[in-house]
């Protein structure tokens, strides 16, 4: 059983949970994800592995409620269990494979948006433990939606905050801060890692392209199996069509076709889809189909 050993509220609608899954805890590396199924009739929901503890056999997930299934996940309490948890899935972050000298020679900036701050945290922590210090930009709607600020400040060289309403840090978007750092603060970066909503990753990538800074993004496409079997997660990266669950989830942000990826993400949600689904039901009724 995949028992929840700890649950904390990080921000409105964002919960952190430690889940007992010893096999995953042992194998996990930064950048990977897992899939949760809450109950017998539930969907398979992908979530980033935000941290892992081999001794205790637990993995940490941070979930934002955006719909029915994430609501079900967040409704679980300490002591409850998930029906299925499978992982770690996807490839580990590129930097896990790099030599320490290589890493130390690079200036790395992380850009985290909303719940995306959670997966950024273990990467920064891992690098910090290797003696590599990095800068971090965290963006969110307002002060109360900023998560892991203090924890991040303890391990990153600099943490910059951007909020839409200016209630904390710079008023504006993460890209406002990014541009300011480069244009006015004399910062130079070799690599930017952006994790957050697709739209944020798109604009970070557009910004860094101007300055020719290599950019890595972590895509949260639709998924079903997460093992390369269905193709629901496919994305266009440069000339190629790749599967996020096995080839990713991290890709070169300058090559990802974000517009297509954002459009595909709403395939089962958009007004168009709902309309069509409703039409389907109506036509079902007219042909007396039993459901």
């Amino acid at each position: 059983m995949f028992r929840i050993t700890k649950k904390t509220l990080l921000a409105p609608n964002i919960y952190l949970m430690d889940v007992y899954a010893p096999r995953i805890a042992k194998a996990a590396k930064p950048g990977q994800f897992l899939i949760v199924r809450v109950h017998e009739k539930g969907e398979r929901i992908p979530l980033t592995i935000c941290d892992y503890n081999v001794e205790e056999g637990t993995v940490t997930i941070v979930t934002q409620t955006v719909g029915a299934s994430t609501n079900l996940i967040c409704a679980k309490e300490e002591g409850d269990a998930f029906l299925d948890v499978v992982g770690p899935l996807g490839r580990p972050s590129e930097f896990v494979e790099e030599t320490l000298d290589d890493l130390k020679s690079k200036k790395i900036l992380f850009v985290a948006g909303g719940v995306g701050t959670a997966p950024v945290y273990p990467q920064v922590k891992w690098l910090h433990q290797q003696g590599v210090d990095v800068d971090v930009i965290i963006g969110a709607k307002s002060k109360e939606h900023i998560i892991l600020n203090e924890q991040m400040s303890a391990i990153a060289k600099n943490v910059y905050i951007a909020t839409d309403d200016g209630s904390l840090g710079t008023k504006g978007l993460v890209t406002t801060v990014l541009t300011d750092l480069i244009e006015n603060k004399g910062k130079a970066y070799d690599v930017v890692v952006a994790i957050g909503p697709m739209i944020m990753m798109k604009f970070v990538s557009l910004t860094t392209k101007k300055y020719n800074i290599k950019t890595i993004v972590s895509l949260n496409t639709l998924m079903v199996d997460g093992t390369g079997m269905c193709g629901a997660c496919r994305v266009s990266v440069g000339e190629k069509i790749l599967f996020t669950c096995v080839d990713g989830p991290e890709f070169d942000g300058h090559l990802v076709n974000f517009d297509e990826a954002m459009r595909r993400q709403i395939m089962y949600k958009s007004a168009e889809g709902q309309k069509l689904r409703k039409q389907e039901k109506e036509s079902d009724e007219s042909c007396q189909c039993e459901k």
């Binding site: 969907e43 992982g87 297509e260 958009s270 069509l276």
Partner: protein
């Protein structure tokens, strides 16, 4: 002789009713029908049907028992060679295997071996017969990767002779394609798949779901840390192919695997389940195999008007004759000698049509089938909301890339000899992972062959 009786027809759900539900199409024989059909078998001395069955079930022997009304004994005969009779009786391409070589087929119709096997399989499951005998534990552990027919068959044979066997399955449910691919209306999940898997469990086989070998744990770790003496890889061929034509990433284009996984494994056709599915009013399925038929018939049941587009002619359709026939009865339209060239989207990026070109058959190609060639200037559009790509699958590289010494051929299939031995000591493989997409019974056959090799390998290595 008794074979004067014509083959007993099998009762089926009416096409107009069944295209609105997910219940099984074929009802199968009842005991009277089965016993009557069984009397048709000549009990041949050199039964050609047996040689044509990839797992060599003693067909005349079990049929004789049916004729006498000894259903339990019939089940025992089958159990000696197959752990999945209720599955194989339903989905084997019998017309090209056992029944294809039945002597009666020369002058009239072959014995309905598949339907009889299904009858016994169902009888055994309904009466919870406990048939297999299990030897005392021999102290050796074998890990099986994948719970499809190959893995289940390998596990069954090894458990019977005393091995401690554990199956590791990546998905949350056991069964492989039987669970996620083949639809409910051809292969009921609770009544048949689960029942047969429970029989395998009853032999002492453990199944751990939610473990992706190569990610959660590697083959090396299974051998070095978890103490397995040998490993069997039955991971199937699940990686879907796409056509590489413009528009393939539009909303509404899905692989048959995605479409079928949503309906079968995730039960999207049942509204009480959370996983959504998108069908629209018109669906085009590209491809002509069993998988394409399953996708088409599933889409029809979800309320769509369905067209199958296939680039060769009807005689080349790779799907089973019975499935094509069922699909036609259910109102699926076939556009043959037609190949898609582009998928066209609306201004919001949803599919609105598929552009196709007419094909002609030219000279035979390497596979012996006449190669389709495009007819110049014959392009036309078919209006559709959804396109389901059913162009075949290949083995997933997850295991090979994480197992040093496990080599692949140029089709990405694991290299294994006729005994199931791979290029890596102690690691055996079989089923679709080795052959590419094939059939349930071939996968089972390969699993059984590998079980024998694994037994020899372990005895050789540890008991001498």
């Amino acid at each position: 002789m008794a074979n004067k009786i014509p083959r007993i027809p099998v009762r089926e759900q009416d096409p107009n009713i069944r295209r609105t539900n997910f219940e099984e199409v074929s009802y199968g024989y009842n005991s009277e029908e089965a016993m009557l059909e069984a009397t048709r078998c000549l009990n041949c001395k050199k039964p050609k049907c047996v040689t044509a069955c990839p797992v060599s079930i003693n067909i005349p022997a079990f049929i004789q028992e049916i004729a006498k009304g000894n259903f339990v004994d019939a089940a025992k005969v089958i159990a000696a060679d197959s752990s999945l009779p209720a599955v194989c009786g339903r989905v084997c391409p019998q017309e090209s295997q056992c029944e294809g070589d039945c002597i009666l087929g020369v002058k009239s119709e072959p014995v309905a071996i598949g339907k009889l096997e299904r009858f016994i399989g169902d009888y055994a499951n309904e009466n919870q017969l406990n048939l297999a005998e299990v030897a005392a534990p021999n102290g050796f552990k074998v890990a099986i990767i994948g719970s499809g027919p190959a893995g289940l068959a390998c596990a069954t044979d090894l458990a019977k002779i005393g091995y401690e066997v554990k199956i590791f399955e990546a998905l949350h449910k056991a069964g492989g394609v039987l669970e996620y691919g083949i639809p409910e209306f051809r292969l009921p999940k609770e009544k048949v798949v689960k029942a047969e898997i429970d029989n395998v469990r009853r032999l002492g086989v453990k199944i751990e779901t939610d473990v992706v070998i190569g990610r959660t744990v590697t083959i090396d770790e299974l051998i070095n840390e978890e103490g397995y003496h040998a490993v069997f890889v039955g991971s199937g061929a699940g990686l879907p192919k796409f056509m590489d034509i413009p528009g393939e990433n539009l909303n509404g284009v899905v692989s048959a695997n995605e479409f079928l996984t949503r309906t079968n494994l995730m039960k999207a056709y049942d509204e009480s389940y959370d996983t959504p599915i998108f069908v629209g009013s018109n669906v085009v399925v590209v491809g002509g195999g069993n998988v394409a038929m399953d996708a088409a018939r599933t889409a029809a049941r979800l309320g769509a008007n369905v067209t199958v587009v296939y680039r060769r002619s009807k005689t080349e359709l790779p799907a089973r004759v019975e499935e094509v026939h069922h699909a036609e009865e259910e109102g699926i339209v076939f556009k043959l000698l037609t190949n898609p060239t582009e998928i066209i989207g609306d201004e919001k990026g949803w599919v609105k049509a598929i552009k196709c070109i007419k094909m002609d058959l030219g000279e035979p190609d390497a596979s012996g089938r006449r190669r389709p060639i495009e007819v110049p200037n014959s392009e036309f559009e078919v209006k559709t909301d959804v396109v389901i790509m059913s162009l075949g699958t290949s083995p997933n590289p997850l295991i090979s890339t994480t197992t040093p010494g496990l080599n692949l051929n140029k089709w990405q299939c694991i290299i294994a000899d006729e005994k199931g031995q791979t290029t890596r000591e102690g690691v055996f493989a079989g089923g679709d992972a080795v052959t590419g997409a094939a059939t349930v019974i071939l996968a089972m056959g390969a699993g059984r062959v590998a079980a024998k090799s694994i037994d020899e390998y372990i005895k050789d290595k540890y008991q001498n």
